[in-house]
């Protein structure tokens, strides 16, 4: 059975089409990631699923209930952490937690087991006001508040945005252990490196889903050999490669350029090297690499935009 389903969901704000014909499913007990840049439509999807926003078209269910008809049943069964959720700044950690426990009709003691691992980390500060917490601690507290009523489905909208690397790692470790307790988790993030930590992901761009699969399968589906290239004048190299006939795509990626060749040639590496030297580049480095999620994302994005340009 699926914990979350979306079928042909669309949503527009005046002229802006935020969500376009989105369909995907999250299986029960799954850790599912919605990966996309800011403004891709992630938050709108979350709001539709949490019943606070009505979709223009399409059907969606959460925990087996329809988001429009049975919104009350859903509100009893989900835990939600909105993107800009920042708790009550003037209440202490404990007061925040107690408040949300009561609002959801439970107490801290009832479900303490579930939040224990997370709460223990912030417990020493339980009398501190939420406004005085660090970003990482805030997110932990917010997660506790979303979990306190033992939800069936946990919906986390960009929980790690604005949080330091160590806290992000800890946060994902917590999500893993929650998943093991049988909670379905739908999480969104703009960070590609976090995609690998999900069981399955959906890549979203401009309100459209570009692919849904496991991170491994998405990487495996990368259709061409990928090369990392570098020279002394990296900007000129980028322009030279982009102008070259043999090159299919080329974009900057950290200190390297990521390049694919047209027709995925066998001897791509040496051809690229020759091309670079011919244009007068020095210290040329070309090596074949395994593509990452981000490469897949960029490729899918380009394909989509080309497809829509041809329409």
């Amino acid at each position: 059975m699926n914990a979350v389903t979306l079928q042909n969901i669309s949503k527009s704000y005046q002229d802006v089409k935020a969500v376009r014909d989105v369909s995907f499913e999250v299986k029960k007990g799954e850790l599912f990631g919605l990966i996309g840049a800011d403004g891709a439509g992630k938050t709108s999807i979350f709001r539709i699923l949490t019943t606070v926003l009505l979709a223009d078209e399409g059907v969606a269910t959460v925990a087996g209930f329809d988001v429009v008809k049975d919104y009350k049943a859903i509100r009893d069964r989900i835990g939600y952490m909105p993107g800009k959720f920042s708790l009550y700044q003037d209440l202490t950690i404990r007061e925040n937690l107690e408040f949300f426990a009561t609002i959801f009709g439970t107490t801290i003691d009832d479900n303490y087991e579930l939040i224990k691992d997370i709460y223990d980390q912030i417990k020493p500060f339980s009398d501190r006001r939420a406004g005085k917490l660090s970003g990482g601690m805030k997110q932990k507290l917010a997660l506790c508040c979303a979990l306190i009523h033992k939800p069936e489905v946990l919906l986390l909208d960009e929980p790690t945005t604005g949080v330091d690397v160590v806290s992000r790692k800890e946060f994902w470790a917590m999500l893993k252990s929650l998943k093991e307790k049988g909670i379905t988790i739908l999480v969104s993030t703009p960070y590609m490196d976090e995609a690998n930590l999900c069981e399955r992901i959906a890549l979203i761009q401009n309100g459209r889903i570009m692919g849904v699969d496991t991170p491994e399968n998405i990487i495996r589906a990368f259709p061409a050999k990928l090369y990392a290239a570098k020279s002394d004048n990296i900007y000129k190299l980028l322009n030279d490669f982009r102008a070259a006939q043999a090159v299919d795509s080329c974009y900057a990626f950290g200190e390297f350029l990521h390049v694919t060749t047209k027709g995925n040639r066998e001897a791509g590496s040496s051809e690229l090297r020759d091309l670079a030297i011919e244009r007068g580049h020095t210290h040329v480095v070309i090596q074949e690499i395994t593509p990452g999620i981000e490469d897949s994302f960029i490729r899918l994005m380009n394909e989509k935009s080309e497809a829509s340009a041809h329409q």
Partner: protein, 368 residues
């Protein structure tokens, strides 16, 4: 039910931990009362007065001398007619005129009673009323002086008339006015801001997604402000009585209950505003500018309604503060009972029910 109580407790935390809210809540009424109290002082000195003596007999002279002797007046004696007096008033330096009729002393001794006319400039009703009181006291004093025996009293009847503002609206009006104003600002602004704050913080989204009844959010938000405003009313009344020596002539309980009713009206209005706004600034602007100005202008507290164009008088009917102002004035200053203010109370009750109904009905269980 327990949820609601916990929610209300949380709201109290918000109020007590925010110094600014507390300052607005309790600083504002104190400042307003003191400011209005001492700015609109009733103490007057060196008032220019025209004495137009048409009798020129011993009695009128004696009264004139008494007035001259008091520190409150600077006397200009003249035999101006009514038109000239009005001209002097228009120039603005003369605030008051006392007119003795011909045969003033004759009437007093032969008929046993006579009249004097006091004309005051009503555009400053505070001064006008005080002046009338002083003159009446001086004349009353003289009356006693010349009375041969308590049984055979000579009576001088002062007939006072205000030019420009016949109602004499204004004096002592400011306490009821300040009450209306303060409650309006505190209840409406603070409640609307409190709800909108949740929207801004993103906590409203979580509350909506909780099993907590959305309508309870509004109730929980309103309760602390209701209680604190009730304390505020008591504070204002204490200040009025002990700092400004205002006498509460009617039933204090009735006054308090009517105030609670008005607080409820303001809270409903605040909740309604919070429904249609998304940022604290907008909520603040609407409730401050949109509510404060009409309250100031249309309650008759600063400017007498009777002097306004008909259109404004009609508009003033939809301002809740106007009705509350009438009620407080009647109960506090005139000592009237519920029988005299039931109509106004009914209007306020109707407004409250309507506003609250719209606010609850418009409360969105979803975003946008």
């Amino acid at each position: 039910m327990k949820q609601l109580l916990v929610f209300i407790r949380k709201e109290f935390f918000h109020v007590f931990r925010d110094r600014r809210t507390l300052l607005i809540m309790f600083g504002l009424p104190v400042v307003q009362i003191v400011l209005f109290g001492f700015a609109l002082t009733n103490e007057v000195k060196n008032i220019e007065i025209i004495i137009s003596d048409n009798a020129r007999d011993i009695n009128s002279q004696q009264i004139t001398n008494k007035i001259k002797a008091s520190a409150y007046f600077k006397v200009q004696e003249s035999v101006l007619n009514y038109k000239d007096i009005e001209k002097a008033f228009r120039k603005g330096d003369v605030k008051c005129a006392l007119i003795f009729p011909a045969h003033f002393g004759d009437d007093l001794f032969h008929a046993g009673k006579t009249r004097v006319q006091i004309i005051t400039d009503g555009s400053d009703p505070n001064i006008a009323k005080t002046v009338v009181n002083y003159l009446t006291a001086i004349i009353g004093d003289y009356q006693q002086q010349i009375a041969p025996s308590p049984t055979l009293a000579y009576r001088i009847i002062p007939e006072s008339r205000m030019l420009y503002n016949e109602e004499g609206n204004g004096s002592l009006n400011f306490i009821p006015g300040v009450m209306a104003l303060v409650l309006m600002i505190v209840c409406t602004t603070l409640t609307s801001v409190a709800v909108v704050k949740e929207k801004e913080l993103g906590t409203m989204e979580v509350l909506l997604v909780s099993p907590f009844k959305p309508v309870f959010v509004l109730i929980a938000k309103a309760v602390p402000y209701l209680l604190l405003s009730m304390i505020n009313v008591i504070l204002i009344l204490l200040l009025a009585v002990y700092l400004l020596d205002v006498e509460i002539k009617g039933s204090v309980l009735l006054l308090f209950l009517e105030s609670v009713l008005f607080i409820l009206t303001c809270l409903s209005l605040g909740l309604l505003i919070s429904n249609v706004t998304d940022s604290q600034q907008t909520a603040m602007l609407i409730s401050m500018m949109g509510m404060m100005l009409p309250t100031l202008i249309f309650t008759g507290f600063l400017f007498p309604l009777e002097n306004m164009p008909k259109v404004f008088q009609i508009i003033s009917n939809v301002i809740p503060a106007r009705w509350y102002f009438i009620i407080t004035k009647a109960v506090m200053l005139k000592g009237l009972g519920f029988a005299y203010v039931w109509k106004e109370t009914l209007v306020l009750t109707g407004m409250t029910i309507a506003l609250l109904g719209i606010a609850l009905k418009n409360f969105k269980i979803r975003l946008q």
